[in-house]
């Protein structure tokens, strides 16, 4: 026994630090819901991260097998609850593709306006919560102030503030409202009287004019903030090859330099909505990025979202211009119990967090044999493990936050 201890190599081997297992979540605030990460750490350095999901599993796919297609719309709301409009749209389009149904121009215009407003609201939460993850509290408050106005506008449109069920098979449940009382938040921010009555369209324009000015402030607060850059640049670097191999989509994919957006590259049933609209697709690398930034890091993913907000504003403005002359109605009638054909189809749409796919198998009954919701966050989350190896514990929220996940969509 004593001979072994005298061997200097063994003594050196014995004084290494112990690895420690740390549970992060499922109630940790910066895991964006009920994500549990099991960290294997050596001091401050993370050696392995294993995500555990399923805490919010509500059997949405199984429920969908017992409901008709329009009845399942409210369940799609509860998947990505921060962008419920875009979830409704994905499901409605998938069923329309199966039914070979064409929606009128007016319905498509409404879908662009509302869908892109939904994207702005979703990216605002993504931005605010990311600041919060990194320890900066004020952007969160500003982001929620802005989002509140969008929610007020949505409330005027469909009566709900979070789970809208607004887009349904064949179009939207209501047409856009005419005159509304200006949202109280917007009235006080723009110096208008709280009882001002304006048309809904004009209110949106007033809001967008005001929001465009605020985006510059967000860039000062976060994007160009040197502390923020130090926390995000060259961290969580996701290579282009790995992003494709791991099925990443949306801002995560574009942040790694893949120029792909379904609004331009998707299937015709979806791209038809965006025909005649002018918009750019922000893709990393960016010429105006700080020198510390590497292609595919946290900062790039964050910046893609910020630039997408600007493009979404452009799209909403163009939609509002088109709306008065758009032909047709806001909806093609579709019965609640209408039968689905003996056929199957899969459709992906560009939701704020990535490509949301819906797969429907019909057997001639109103209820589909199988519905499947392929979640974009599910695929984006799967790279947390490889991205986090070798970083510090405090960088884990920065990496998970930059993926902008919503657990409702992952667990379904």
């Amino acid at each position: 026994m004593s001979t072994q201890i005298e061997d200097p190599r063994i003594i050196e081997f014995d004084v290494r630090t112990d690895e420690m297992l740390i549970n992060m979540g499922p109630q940790h605030p910066s895991t964006h819901g009920v994500l549990r990460l099991l960290l294997r750490t050596d001091g401050e350095i993370v050696n392995e991260v294993t995500p555990h999901i399923g805490y919010l599993h509500r059997c949405a796919e199984k429920i969908g097998e017992n409901l008709s297609a329009p009845q399942w719309v409210p369940y799609t709301d509860r998947m990505d609850y921060l962008a419920a409009m875009n979830m409704n749209l994905g499901w409605a389009l998938a069923v329309e593709k199966l039914l070979k149904m064409e929606v009128p121009e007016k319905a498509m215009t409404v879908r662009v306006i509302i869908g892109e407003l939904g994207r702005i609201a979703s990216h605002l939460v993504g931005m605010g919560a990311y600041g919060l993850d990194l320890g900066s509290f004020s952007p969160f408050l500003y982001a929620f102030r802005e989002r509140e106005i969008i929610l007020d506008l949505f409330e005027e449109v469909c009566g709900a503030r979070l789970t809208y069920s607004y887009f349904t098979i064949g179009g939207a449940t209501h047409d856009l409202p005419d005159k509304i009382q200006i949202p109280p938040g917007l009235a006080s921010l723009t110096g208008r009287k709280p009882d001002t009555v304006m048309s809904w369209m004009d209110t949106v324009i007033v809001f967008l004019d005001w929001l465009e000015e605020r985006i510059k402030e967000y860039h000062i607060l976060l994007t160009r903030n040197s502390i923020f850059i130090k926390r995000t640049a060259a961290l969580g670097v996701l290579s282009r090859e790995m992003a494709i191999d791991s099925g990443c989509t949306g801002p995560v994919l574009r942040g790694s330099g893949v120029d792909h957006d379904l609004r331009r590259d998707g299937e015709s049933i979806y791209t038809r909505m965006y025909e005649g609209y002018e918009f750019d697709i922000p893709v990393a690398p960016f010429a105006d990025a700080p020198s510390e930034v590497v292609l595919g890091d946290n900062w790039c993913r964050f910046y893609v979202r910020m630039l997408e907000v600007v493009q979404a504003i452009r799209l909403v403005r163009q939609g509002i211009e088109k709306y008065p002359t758009a032909e047709g109605t806001h909806r093609v009638p579709h019965k609640l119990t209408a039968k689905l054909p003996v056929d199957e189809c899969y459709l992906e749409t560009e939701a704020p967090r990535g490509q949301m796919g819906f797969y429907v198998v019909g057997t001639g009954n109103a209820e589909p044999l199988r519905v499947r919701a392929k979640s974009s966050c599910f695929c984006n989350l799967s790279i947390t493990g490889p991205l986090s190896v070798g970083c510090m514990i405090a960088d884990i929220p920065a990496i998970v936050g930059s993926l902008d996940i919503v657990m409702g969509e992952i667990d379904r």
């Binding site: 999901i53 399923g54 599993h57 059997c59 796919e61 199984k62 593709k97 199966l98 070979k100 790995m242 494709i244 191999d245 791991s246 099925g247 893949v258 792909h260 590259d265 056929d343 199957e344 189809c345 899969y346 992906e348 490509q355 796919g357 797969y359 198998v361 057997t363 001639g364 009954n365 044999l369 199988r370 499947r372 392929k374 599910f378 695929c379 799967s382 667990d411 379904r412």
Partner: protein, 177 residues
């Protein structure tokens, strides 16, 4: 390249014992591949220069079984399971749907899960999709690096998306419905 041309290309590369049915009438045309050759076919469609399917959009299972006697009259499928692969190529911008048909139980012994090769060595994301399909549909993916349940707890009994699944009466002292 459309699905019919891809089918021709695959038949050239493999034989008609591996590449089975071609359905062009469906909204998304699909090609059926035999269960024991999916790994080879997957490797070929990813690496071949004319195909380059580098992105796995989705992988899921479907249970073809109709228990409702009213609906069963119109239902003209034999009971079976399907694994559906939705592929896309970023460089060539085309789509492909591959299907593998499996028996509901291996050798028709109830409780024995049917097996198919894992494609997680081809597309990394298949790892999680296959774990979910195993968890909810009860399909065993051979050579999968880490085939555990992903959404349900590890000691859960049964596979929820099977049509004949019955909800448990109790789980760790919590009463079911």
């Amino acid at each position: 390249m459309n699905t019919k041309e891809i089918h021709g290309l695959l038949l050239n590369q493999f034989d008609d014992k591996r590449i089975l049915e071609l359905n062009t009438e469906a909204t998304d045309p699909w090609i059926e591949v035999s269960a024991d050759s999916i790994l080879e076919v997957a490797r070929f469609v990813k690496t071949d220069e004319r195909l380059q399917f580098d992105h796995l959009n989705d992988l899921c299972g479907v249970d073809y079984l109709e228990l409702d006697p009213k609906k069963a009259k119109k239902f003209d499928h034999d009971p079976h399971l399907e694994v559906v692969y939705h592929l896309y190529s970023y460089s060539l911008k085309h789509y492909l749907v591959l299907k593998v048909k499996l028996p509901r139980w291996k050798n028709d012994e109830e409780g024995k899960l049917p097996e198919v090769d894992s494609v997680s060595s081809i597309w990394a994301i298949a790892d999680w999709h296959e774990r979910e399909t195993y968890d909810l549909m009860g399909i065993h993916f051979s050579n999968h690096p880490n085939l555990r349940r992903i959404l349900c707890p590890e000691d859960w009994v049964g596979h929820g998306l099977r049509k004949d699944y019955s909800f448990p009466d109790e789980y760790h002292g919590i009463r079911g419905c």
